[in-house]
Every structure is written in structure tokens, then in C-alpha cells.
Amino acid sequence: MKLNPLNRGERTGTSSKLNRRAFIIEIRALVALAIIVIFFSFLSDKFLQYSNLVLMTRHVAMNAILAIGMLLVILNGGIDLSVGSIVGLSGVVAGYLMQGAPVPFTDQVAYPNIWAVLVISLIVGMFFGWLNGLLVAKLNIAPFIATLGMLYVARGFAKLITNGETFTKLSGKPELGNAGFLSTFAARPLGIPLPIWVMIVFAIVFSVILNRTAFGRWLYASGGNQRAAALTGVPITKVNVRIYVLSGFCAASVGVLFTADLQAAIPNMGEFSELNAIAAVVIGGTALSGGRGTIRGTLIGAFVIGFLVDGLVLIGVSVFWQETIKGAVIIIAVAVEEIQRILERRQKLKSAS
């Protein structure tokens, strides 16, 4: 496909304006990322060291996995504020099961093996996502409100389970058949931390889902124009429920990885991480109104946020400034697009008159 961003006004051959627009936004995010990398590598020798890059990418990966789930929800014009709490809840559920779960009505304690722990934690996350989906799709509650409520509910459950404490006995015992939680979920295959692998796998799998399956096409259609999609036979309710389940699944995955990474299940884990996920999605060029956005853009967005924050830490900028700068970058990233739109419109008006 021929791309000629310089000739924006005219349509040439088969080159698609749609793809071009998305491409320009992604290019912009990439440029931002390049600026961040160059800027910090000048200020700190450490920034581009392999070990530091791996460390930063591991941070990016956690946010990116959440952001992939968030992307699905935002593509449909929704928002999921509960993912941070689901991270905490799923992590705590994993920790609780590793400590040994008392079986109701008996005085026995069950020690599920680590794969059962993983599956149950994921199911808990998907269940809360499913509740979000029901509230939004069946009861027509605004996504912002439904998931805001779930943010508190899930976090509350996490704290109830741990009674506000932290679970630290996660290593399990071979004689109980539940050993290997930490060595498996905090593993480093080929020297690269597991979250990075999970990010890569999720990115590929969800790209295929978005681009090659009926669900993916339905999601873009329903996010673009829900009424039209419904009349065309798209099962919009099913799509709407499914995205929240998938978002819950992504959050629960992060919960388990996070717990293994910290070697502790902390009920406050993942607080405010929904906001970082939203930021990554938005910087990646996804429209909050739905219907437009890609996994690739979202990954770039996650890298922009992650590298920026870690870079600021590395060069010793105060925590308060870190937040201020992060916020400014988010606003600028989106404002640039709008400014460009206004300029284009002005030019069009000028050429029309």
C-alpha cells in the first residue's frame, strides 16, 4: 500500500485514508517513544543498558497486558475502571490458595496445585469482568459507573480475603503437591522475565482475534456504530459482555504475575493501574468514542508511559514531578491529534472558498 502523508488532501489510487490516518497516529506515538529513548540515553548511561531495558520492559509488560484488555473495552466505546482492583483480587486469591484453603464444612485444608491456582485466579477475574459486562450490556448501566462500582467491590473482596494483611508464604511444599508457584510464574525463560513473554503472546493472540475473527469485526462494528451494527445482525450484547470478560482475564493474568513477581499477595496491588492502562490505549491512537484502535498502537503507548516513568526515576527526578510530567505527556499526545484535525479543517475551508 502506498502511503503519502504529504498529499493528505487528495486520494490516490487504492491508498486508504483510513489506514493512513491510523498510521500517522501510530507514527506519532513512535516518534514520542524515540524522543524519550534518545533524551534519557543522553542523560543517563544506564538507560540503554540491556539489564535496564529488560527491567523497564517488564514494567511495561504488566501495563501492556492490562492495556490490551482495556483496548477491547474502549474499542466498543466503554471503559473498565475495575481492572486495577481485579489485579489485586486475583493476586490475593492466588496467594490465599497457595497458603491452603480450608474446605467448607470439614476441618481439612486444600492445597490445589499451581495450575489449579492459576485457573481459579483467572476465573475469578473473568467472573468480575462478566459481572461488569452484564451490568453494562443487559442493564444498560453506563460503563463508567458500573466499573467504578466494581472497582470498590473487587478491592473490598481482596481486603476481606486477606483481612488487610499480606500473604507471603507462596512457595508451597512438594509434599503438599503445590510447589513451584514462584519458580513458574516468576520464571525467566531465555533470561527474559515471564511478563514480557506473556505480553508478546497476548499481543499476537489478540491481534489475531481483532483482525481475523468474527468477534473482532463485530467489536469494531459495534464500537463504530452500535445501532447500525445491531440492525446488520451483529450480536452487540454478546460482544459487550465478552469484552469485559476478556478485560477481567487480562487483569487476572497480571494479578498472578504480579504476585509471583513481588513474592507476596498484597490486597492493594494494582491500585490506579487502570489509569495507566487507559493512558497507554489513548496514547496509542485509540478513540475513546470507539471503533478505532490497534494492539500495535496500544503497545507503543504502553512503552511511552513505561519508559518515560522509569527514565524519570533513573535520572532522579522527584516523584511529584514524575506525575506532573506523565500527565502532561498524556494530554499533549491527545491534544496534538485534535490540533492537527483543526488545522486540516481550516485548510479545507481555505481551499474551498
Binding site: L18, T213, A214, R217, A221, G224, L231, T232, G233
Partner: protein
């Protein structure tokens, strides 16, 4: 000679590649009613939107009382004394009648509202329109006709020099129309220039002094009403001497019953009316290869019927058989699978996915047929899309082009082609030619006829009698949710259909 109250000189307007207006010249004199005629898509509304500051012309100039003006916004238009009564109601349903009438012109002192004055004015203007409505009533609690009255009342409280009325009577009863005409005469005497647009041609001729006809974005005829008759208007609108085109019914054999609707009753969706049912006791059978049209005025229940047939709304009562199978409880998706899909009335709102390409829009309804083991087969999808682009004659430079780059007519063909790709047994179309140019209209109906010859059953809704007369085998006339007649085009005249469609209006009018 004194100059016209408002004058448009060589005004053109392009929407993308579509030319809605081609150097149109138009003027309206003070103290006169100027009727503007034209088929849907002829450019009437575009011209009025330009005069009211809602749209900017691509080229040309506008003069108000002989002075060249630039109208950038509705506020500019208002300060020049131009007011418009919109075809689509522009009221806030959550606010009271009074608040709606003074919206944007709130009467306040030091920031505090002067409700007494506003209420007094509201009462006075409603009395002028001979309606008893409490100014405090919320607009959402009024029936459609009364909402239209409020819209008119708002325009009357503004002392305008030019008053544009775009389809002001579409939801009014004949008594209400008579009152409106009385008010128009009073305004005329005060020297207001009135521009009047209506689909009811006779009604428009009755009230107006001067007639201007638009066709394909150009002014094609202009005359004093005293010198012309209905036939003059119609033949100029259509661009040929008006003679009912011979009904082409050859080569089409009608097969088995495809769609059977028995005693359908559909609940009214909005709360703006006390009417319980939008459609009552509707029965109809459509055979394979048959083209049936439904004609009726706004509020007749046509759109509600079509959406319930497509599966978006439920039948409150009645039966629905598709090719002998009960489909009453199927979802939209399953009805499409069973062979019945809707091409909706408002393609921007209910038809197109603006963010998607031409190709993706085309394949959306039939996308499942390209899925093998969970993944899409892109090459069969591509083949089908290319086929559809050719078959429905979409003019586009490629399937990857954004849907916005197409003209209205071509967008409509995409929505139509999308449903044809699902291999339907019956195609439902709600106003299939709304807002598209005459050439594309013909193409769309030619396409439908072609498909009907291959055995497709077609049911379409129209508010243009000529479409119903020229393209359908049977015409179902609806009024206020009821079927008031089913005719063969050869057995009936346009005038008869028009009067039948309005017949039960009076008794149906309820507060």
C-alpha cells in the same frame, strides 16, 4: 424595484463529490409566501440550511434586503432576522414548553430569569395558534403534533423578517393546519417573507403566492401561483411531462408466500405520545418475486413496522412467518440468517460504520460465511466484496476507501449490497432513496427489480407516491398505524392515494 427580503445568487454546495446545489438562484419577497418545491434530494433543505446559517455555501452570495451578507451561524441568521422552523424538531424534550420557546433568548435581569414575562409571551403565542397547552408542560409529554406547534410557536415569538418553514405540517391535523394558515396570512400582512416547503403539494399551492421548483440542485422553474396548477409543479419536479409511466410488470412471475404478517400490533416506542400502539392489526403477504410498497405520512407507523419485522422491536401481538417458518422470536442476526434483512431509513445513524472501509461495510452482515475454524478467509471475503461492488454498481476507487468518501447514493448502494450479500429471501427497505440524487434512485430501483425477477421478495417504505406508483406491484397505504388500503398502481391515481393516506388523520388526532 424594491429588493427582495432574501436572495441567493448562484449558490452552490458540494458535499464531497456530491453537488447538492448547482448555482441556484432564489429569492423571497416581503409579504409573500414563496413555496419551494422539489423531490427528496433536490436540494431544498440544503438551500434553506444555507439561508439559516447552518451550512456554508461552497460558492455564491446571499443578499438580505439588497445587501450582501455572510451568514456563518444560526446566530448570525437570527440577527439578520432570519428564522427557520426545522423539519426535524429541534426541541429539548426534558424542558418545559416555555423554556423551549425561549431557549437561547432567555429573558433575564442581572442573571435572574424573568419567568412571568416568558410565560405571558408563551401563553399569548399559543393562544394565537389556538392551542391550550400549559407553558410549564414538559415537551416530552406532548404528542408529536403539539411538539411541532411548539416549534412553530418559538419561531413566532421571534420578530423575524424572513421565516423559513421546512415541512411545518408533517405531524399536524387538518384543523391545526388551518390555524397555521391563518397565522401565516397574519404574518404576511405584517410584511414577513415566508418560505414554505411541504410534501403536500396542494396544501403548499393553497397558501403560497409564488412557486419555485428545484431539481437536482438547480432552479428549474419559477412562477406566480395564480398562473400554475398542480400538474405544472409535478412535471417540473420530475423533469418530464407528468404521465404515469406504464407499469412494467412483465417477466416477473410471483411464487410462493415468502412473508406473512398476520394481525401485527407493535408498541409505540417513544413516551412523547399517549398512543399505545404504533401499528395495529397489520396483515400482509408478500410473494416471491413481488415488490410491495408501503406509503404513508410521517407518524403512520411505517418505520416501526419495518424495525419490528427486522427484529429490533417485538410484536406485541400477531404472527410473522418467513417462508412458512415462524420467525417472531428470532434475533436480528437469526432473521438475517433465515433470509430477511432491513436496509434502514437513516443510513448515517442505522446503516454505516463510519470508521470502516467500503469493503468492511459491505461484508459485515455476511461476515460469518467467511469464517472457517474461527478465522476469517480473507480471499473469499475479498472476492465477495469485489462482486458486490460490481453488482450493485458502487462507484469507488477501491474497497479499502473510507465509506465517507462515497456520495449518498453510493453509500446507500453499500448498505443495500450488504444485505444482498446475505442471500435474502425478502429484502425490507425503509425509504431506500432518501437524500440521494435522481440518477442513483433509478439505479437502485432497477437493481431491486432485477433481483425481484430472480425471485426476491421486496417490501419497501416510501413517502414519494411516484416511487410507489412506478416500481411496486401493490401499494399498501398506512395512516396512524392502520392499513387504510391496498391497491394495484394501475387501479388508482396519485391523488386518491394522497387523500386516503390523510383520511383518518382527523379522527386519529389525540392529545
Amino acid at each position: 424595484m424594491r429588493s427582495a427580503a432574501i436572495e441567493a445568487i448562484n449558490v452552490s454546495k458540494n458535499y464531497g463529490v456530491t453537488q447538492a446545489l448547482k448555482s441556484a438562484n432564489f429569492k423571497a419577497e416581503s409579504g409573500q409566501v414563496t413555496a419551494l418545491f422539489g423531490e427528496n434530494g433536490a436540494g431544498k433543505s440544503t438551500l434553506m440550511k444555507i439561508l439559516a446559517g447552518i451550512e456554508r455555501p461552497t460558492s455564491g452570495e446571499i443578499k438580505v434586503f439588497g445587501e450582501k451578507v455572510e451568514i456563518y451561524s444560526p446566530i448570525d441568521a437570527q440577527s439578520l432576522g432570519i428564522t427557520i422552523i426545522h423539519q426535524e424538531l429541534s426541541l429539548c424534550p426534558n424542558l418545559s414548553v416555555r423554556d423551549n420557546i425561549f431557549m437561547g433568548r432567555e429573558n433575564s435581569k442581572l442573571g435572574f430569569m424573568n419567568y412571568t414575562h416568558e410565560e405571558e409571551v408563551t401563553r399569548r403565542v399559543l393562544a394565537q395558534l389556538e392551542e391550550v397547552i400549559d407553558p410549564e408542560t414538559r415537551v416530552e409529554n406532548l404528542r408529536l403534533g403539539l411538539q411541532q406547534i411548539v416549534e412553530i410557536a418559538r419561531a413566532l415569538t421571534i420578530n423575524s423578517k424572513v421565516l423559513i418553514m421546512d415541512e411545518p405540517t408533517s405531524a399536524l391535523s387538518s384543523t391545526e393546519v388551518a390555524v397555521l394558515f391563518k397565522v401565516i396570512l397574519e404574518l404576511k400582512e405584517k410584511g414577513v417573507a415566508i418560505i414554505y416547503i411541504s410534501h403536500h403539494l396542494e396544501e403548499a399551492l393553497e397558501i403560497s403566492d409564488h412557486a419555485i421548483v428545484l431539481r437536482d440542485g438547480q432552479v428549474v422553474a419559477e412562477a406566480d401561483v395564480a398562473d400554475i396548477d398542480l400538474e405544472w409543479v409535478v412535471s417540473n419536479m420530475l423533469g418530464r411531462t407528468f404521465k404515469e409511466r406504464a407499469h412494467k410488470n412483465s417477466g416477473r412471475t410471483k411464487g410462493r408466500n415468502i412473508l406473512e404478517i398476520k394481525n401485527a400490533r407493535i408498541l409505540e416506542r417513544g413516551i412523547a405520545t399517549s398512543k399505545l400502539y404504533a401499528v395495529e392489526d397489520f396483515s400482509l403477504t408478500v410473494k416471491a418475486g413481488e415488490i410491495v410498497s408501503i406509503y404513508g405520512l410521517m407518524g403512520a407507523g411505517r418505520t416501526e413496522l419495518m424495525e419490528a419485522l427486522a427484529g429490533r422491536d417485538d410484536f406485541a401481538h400477531g404472527e410473522l412467518l418467513l417462508d412458512g417458518i415462524d420467525v417472531k422470536h428470532l434475533s436480528v442476526q437469526n432473521r438475517i440468517k433465515a433470509g430477511m434483512g432491513l436496509v434502514p431509513e437513516d443510513r448515517q445513524r442505522d446503516g454505516l460504520i463510519q470508521q470502516m472501509s467500503v469493503g468492511s461495510n459491505l461484508s459485515l452482515a455476511s461476515y460469518m460465511s467467511h469464517i472457517k475454524r474461527g478465522l476469517v478467509n480473507r480471499s473469499t471475503e475479498k472476492t465477495k466484496i469485489e462482486e458486490a461492488i460490481k453488482n450493485v454498481r458502487v462507484k469507488t476507487s477501491g474497497r479499502d476507501m473510507p465509506i465517507e468518501s462515497l456520495s449518498g447514493g453510493n453509500q446507500q448502494k453499500v448498505v443495500l449490497g450488504r444485505m444482498l450479500l446475505t442471500d435474502p429471501k425478502i429484502l425490507l427497505l425503509d425509504e431506500p432513496t432518501r437524500g440521494i440524487d435522481v440518477g442513483a434512485k433509478g439505479e437502485i430501483f432497477d437493481l431491486l427489480r432485477e433481483r425481484a425477477e430472480q425471485g426476491l421478495a421486496i417490501l419497501f417504505v416510501t413517502s414519494e407516491i411516484s416511487e410507489a406508483m412506478n416500481w411496486s406491484d401493490r401499494i399498501v397505504v398506512m395512516s396512524r398505524g392502520h392499513v387504510v388500503g391496498i391497491y394495484k398502481p394501475s387501479d388508482v391515481t396519485r391523488e386518491e392515494i394522497m387523500s386516503i393516506a390523510e383520511s383518518t388523520k382527523e379522527e386519529g388526532a389525540r392529545v
